[in-house]
């Protein structure tokens, strides 16, 4: 623990002459200086001169001001903050994996290629789609890869098409991805139950938002595809997804599924079985790899055989030979670079291999039965919280939900808003839910408990949420002031953006 309220920047601790790293004795002749004069390295201005003790204490103290999954309930909706099993870390650190070079000849990295191949096979079974790449380094990178597959598919048919459709409940990464892949974004309306609307929807402001039927009729073959999160960002399963897929396919467009919420479906339903053409998974969400304070993640993409030729290269291939008298199958793995239709590489080497190892370990630990049990428990947990809090907080959509539930602040007393609820939770020892998202719910509180939470942990959270609702009525100022117990009060984000100080000088 630390009772300090401030840890200075490391640069303020620097004392010329101190060292934190002793170099090995040089066992070859000293370097000749071959640099032209103007390429000789000048002085460093910020790199600190500190000891290992200074560095360890610095980062240990800083760590005390973070809240992690092991500190407690972390219901950050859409991020699936489940337990990070320690065996995953141990396995990824095995020298047999960690000390392998990505350009070593295939014969010398058969274990790594077997890992890539095996997880691909398992993800095919989980998604119901027949082809997988593990190269994308995060969810957004997976989205971009997926949309580029769609683009290449259309180009192969004659034209790339112009538009990507997405619902107004979509994650921000979806429209940003479509733009990065060279597409225009057109928004599809959501209907009263929170799912994609086929019909036009007139909002409270009298504005008409176009439904899928209208957009497909108007844009027709201009539509390259639709990006859909399922279950969507409200935790609601898009129950007409097969109809959506058929409507798209009729005009030659494809269905992309954002798998951010796959923790609601593993072992229960498979996107390949309900018309999805291409999707990404988040190994750092559904498959328990640590979030690392903002990555590294991994965003594998699964797709149909129509899209398979376009997958990033190289592709891991397994060859099987029968050896010996009994004809025992012996597998060997290789990298296929000869992929003339491939969109090309999306990252150097094979993406975040270390994360793939962790995800495979997670799948091994759970097995097929355990993965399904985890999904069901995640759904039970979210529905328990929904049941306990639905009468306390307003809920815009009454539709059944799966792994998460979205509440909002519209019935809060005394000008207490979602931000105040979030900060009140901090003072009560919890990480807040995702707030103000999805934007279609005003003042949204998006709660995703995951399967990791026991009833006891959830009951404590539920009690805290109830207490906050009570405080809003009785002592709203206490919430407007929160947090007051964590050593740092609300920070001035406006000042940070208006007069940016982005490094120490």
């Amino acid at each position: 623990m630390t009772t300090r309220t401030r840890e200075p920047l490391i640069f303020e601790r620097s004392v010329a002459g101190k060292v934190g790293m002793d170099l090995p004795r040089l066992d070859v002749p000293a370097a000749r200086d071959t640099r032209p004069a103007h390429l000789k390295r000048g002085e460093f201005k910020a790199l600190p001169s500190v000891t290992e003790v200074d560095v360890i204490r610095h980062f240990t103290r800083l760590s005390h001001w973070n809240y992690g999954v092991d500190d407690g309930f972390y219901p950050l909706g859409s991020c699936t903050m489940k337990h990070n099993p320690r065996i995953n870390e141990k396995v990824a650190a095995l020298p047999g994996f960690a000390d392998t070079h990505p350009l070593a000849p295939a014969a010398h990295v058969q274990g790594n290629l077997a890992v890539l191949y095996t997880l691909q096979e398992w993800l095919k079974e989980i998604t119901g789609l027949p082809a997988v790449t593990l190269q994308p380094c995060a969810g957004a990178a997976g989205e971009l890869t997926g949309v580029m597959l769609i683009r290449s598919y259309h180009v192969s048919k004659g034209a790339k098409r112009r538009v990507i459709l997405l619902p107004d409940s979509a994650h921000g990464t979806n429209p940003a991805t479509a733009a990065m892949a060279g597409y225009e974004v057109v928004v599809v309306a959501s209907q009263a139950d929170g799912t994609v609307s086929f019909e036009d929807v007139t909002g409270a402001d009298g504005k008409v938002q176009k439904g899928l039927d209208t957009l497909l009729a108007e844009l027709g073959q201009e539509v390259a595809g639709l990006m859909l999160t399922n279950p969507n960002t409200l935790g609601i399963f898009e129950y007409r997804i097969q109809d959506i897929s058929e409507a798209l396919h009729k005009v030659g467009a494809l269905l992309y599924m954002d798998g951010a919420n796959m923790n609601a479906l593993v072992g229960v339903a498979r996107p390949g079985d309900f018309g999805v053409d291409v999707m990404h998974l988040n190994l750092h969400k559904t498959f328990s790899t640590p979030h690392g304070g903002g990555g590294p993640g991994s965003g594998p993409v699964a797709c149909t055989m129509e899209l398979e030729p376009f997958l990033p290269r190289p592709v891991v291939v397994r060859d099987t030979a029968k050896v010996g008298e009994g004809g025992v199958a012996q597998h060997s793995y290789r990298l296929d670079w000869d992929r003339p239709l491939s969109i090309g590489k999306v990252h150097a080497f094979f993406g975040n291999f270390g994360i793939v190892v962790r995800a495979m370990t997670y799948c091994f630990s759970h097995g097929g039965d355990g993965l399904k049990a985890a999904t069901l428990r995640a759904i039970v947990n979210a529905n328990y919280i929904r049941k306990e809090l639905a009468g306390v907080y307003h809920m815009e959509y009454q539709t059944p939900t799966l792994h998460e539930v979205v509440l909002d602040d519209s019935e809060m007393a005394n000008d207490v808003h979602t931000l105040d609820v979030a900060k009140g939770l901090i003072d009560r020892g919890f990480h807040p839910p995702t707030i103000y998202f999805p934007a279609i719910v005003h003042g949204a509180l998006m709660i995703e408990p995951t399967e990791s939470e026991s009833k006891e942990e959830m009951d404590e959270f539920i009690a805290a949420m109830k207490d906050i609702a009570l405080q809003a009525a009785e002592n709203p100022e206490s919430l407007h002031q929160a947090p007051v117990l964590v050593g740092m009060r609300r920070l001035d984000e406006t000042m940070a953006a208006r007069k940016p100080v982005l490094r120490w000088t």
Binding site: V109, Y239, G294, P296
Partner: protein, 457 residues
């Protein structure tokens, strides 16, 4: 299942509270025909002990080389114990993006320090919190350069850029109609200044050059920046071996407008190519076009100094299709490794380590060139990688090295026609003199083509 809080009494209590008989009843939102009507065809649950055995067996299928002379974008450096120990604290590795700054000051201050150090290494003014890797960092930087340059639509890339970076650029620029990538040829291992001059024109948004480049050669970044600027183009330095910043002048000091690349060398194992660390630093005037997370200093209600995610109006969750990038999760924990590593190294450690790399590579080169089958390919200065021509049989060389537990340099034959039978060697502080001597001994035993031809006669 050891991670699931399941027990008959607890499961019942939850289901009773919800008012359903069994968990499956909560799947009513998924139409029955769309549900999976069978169990997943995957292995069954396993204990930690069994999982470890199986995964360790896979790891054991990889060859463990006791000495490695292969770099080419993935560098074998020593990782101080403090790095692994520190990032294993749950406060760092189990947290997520610091959306709630009051309980994320650790991560936020770390990123602020990382940004500061990235600026220090590159000689530029604003850095982001990380990008996925060197390849995607190149892509983000190229797209940013085009945004900054408005009407200019051509990106010149030196043929000395890492081939994977070149390919990722091609993958990601292709969808943008109107944009084009044009390759600038190399001459004696470095960017051909005549070809560069010939290809620079009023449509060129940026020139991207390896520093040092894929072939290990140190480019004259100053001359290239000057040429780019004279044509109104931005100069972009791409570094795949960030430790070179301990030996080579900061790109910003040589005129580069943007510096990007791969910084896995700071505190990471090879990990078969990832997770690695894409970095990006730019000029202050360009900051509102930078992709990814950026942390800024501010104050809390009591006036205490603190840190927040800032300039968020650039980002996907606010700006959606008008965002500077779609990136959300980046390489946070790898950036933490780099930050810890750099703080441990300090200015003397970084320069000393860089110098050791130069010394090892120079010694390796000198010893190789004593062998009759090896000759130097290029004359440019190099950091820790260099290319030799090889007169022998590459397959035999690789086989003999493998037998001796050595991973040799990269066979460049598949990479370019004029690199046939060339090898890209790398030496770092991890390569001892004894390893180098053993390598030379093994190579000396490999029969050369010249020798074989003699036998055939």
């Amino acid at each position: 299942m050891r991670y699931l809080p399941s027990a008959p009494s607890e499961d019942r209590a939850l289901l009773d509270a919800i008012g359903v008989g069994r968990a499956e009843d909560l799947l009513q939102g998924i139409p029955a025909p769309l549900r999976l009507d069978r169990e997943l065809d995957l292995p069954g649950q396993q204990s930690e002990q069994e999982v470890l055995q199986q995964m360790a067996a896979l790891a054991a299928m990889n060859t463990q080389f006791h000495s490695r002379f292969l770099g080419a974008g993935a560098y074998d450096h020593f990782v101080p114990a403090a790095v692994d120990q520190m990032i294993s604290r749950q406060e760092w590795f189990t947290a997520y993006t610091p959306y709630q700054p009051e309980i994320s000051q650790g991560t936020l201050q770390h990123i602020f320090e990382y940004q500061t150090l990235t600026c220090d290494l590159t000689g530029l003014e604003v850095a982001n919190a990380s990008l996925y890797d060197g390849a995607s960092a190149c892509v983000e930087t190229a797209l940013m350069a085009v945004r900054l340059q408005k009407k200019r639509k051509t990106i010149l890339i030196s043929a000395g850029l890492h081939p994977h970076y070149q390919e990722a650029l091609c993958t990601n620029i292709t969808p943008h109609e109107g944009l084009q990538l044009v390759l600038v040829q190399l001459k004696d291992g470095v960017t051909d200044m005549d070809d560069l001059a010939a290809k620079l024109n009023g449509d060129v948004a940026a020139v991207m050059v390896g520093y040092p480049n894929f072939l290990g050669c140190v480019e004259d970044l100053k001359a290239i920046s000057d040429a780019a600027h004279a044509a109104g183009a931005l100069a972009v330095s791409v570094t795949q071996e960030a430790l070179a910043f301990g030996w080579l002048e900061a790109p910003g000091k040589l005129g580069a407008d943007m510096a990007t690349g791969e910084a896995m060398s700071f505190g990471n194992k090879l990990n078969f190519g990832g997770p690695y660390l894409g970095f990006l630093a730019v000029k202050d005037s360009q900051k509102r076009e930078i992709p990814g997370r950026v942390v800024g200093q501010t104050r809390d209600l009591d006036g205490q100094v603190g840190y927040v995610l800032t300039l968020t109006a650039r980002e996907q969750h606010i700006r959606r299709d008008k965002a500077t990038s779609n990136i959300c999760s980046n390489q946070g924990l790898v950036a933490l490794r780099a930050n810890i590593f750099l703080q441990l190294a300090g200015p003397e450690g970084l320069k000393g380590l860089a110098l050791q790399n130069v010394a090892k590579a120079q010694y390796l080169q000198a010893r190789l060139l004593e062998l009759p089958d090896f000759s130097a390919k290029f004359s440019a200065p190099f950091f820790n990688e260099f290319v030799t021509c090889y007169k022998g049989d590459m397959k035999t060389l690789q086989a003999e090295c493998a037998k001796a537990g050595i991973l040799p340099g990269l066979d460049l034959t598949p990479y370019a026609a004029d690199l046939k039978n060339c090898i890209l060697w790398c030496a770092t502080e991890l390569n001892s003199r004894a390893q180098i001597e053993q390598l030379v001994e093994v190579l000396a035993r490999v029969p050369s083509l010249v020798g074989l031809a003699g036998v055939a006669k």
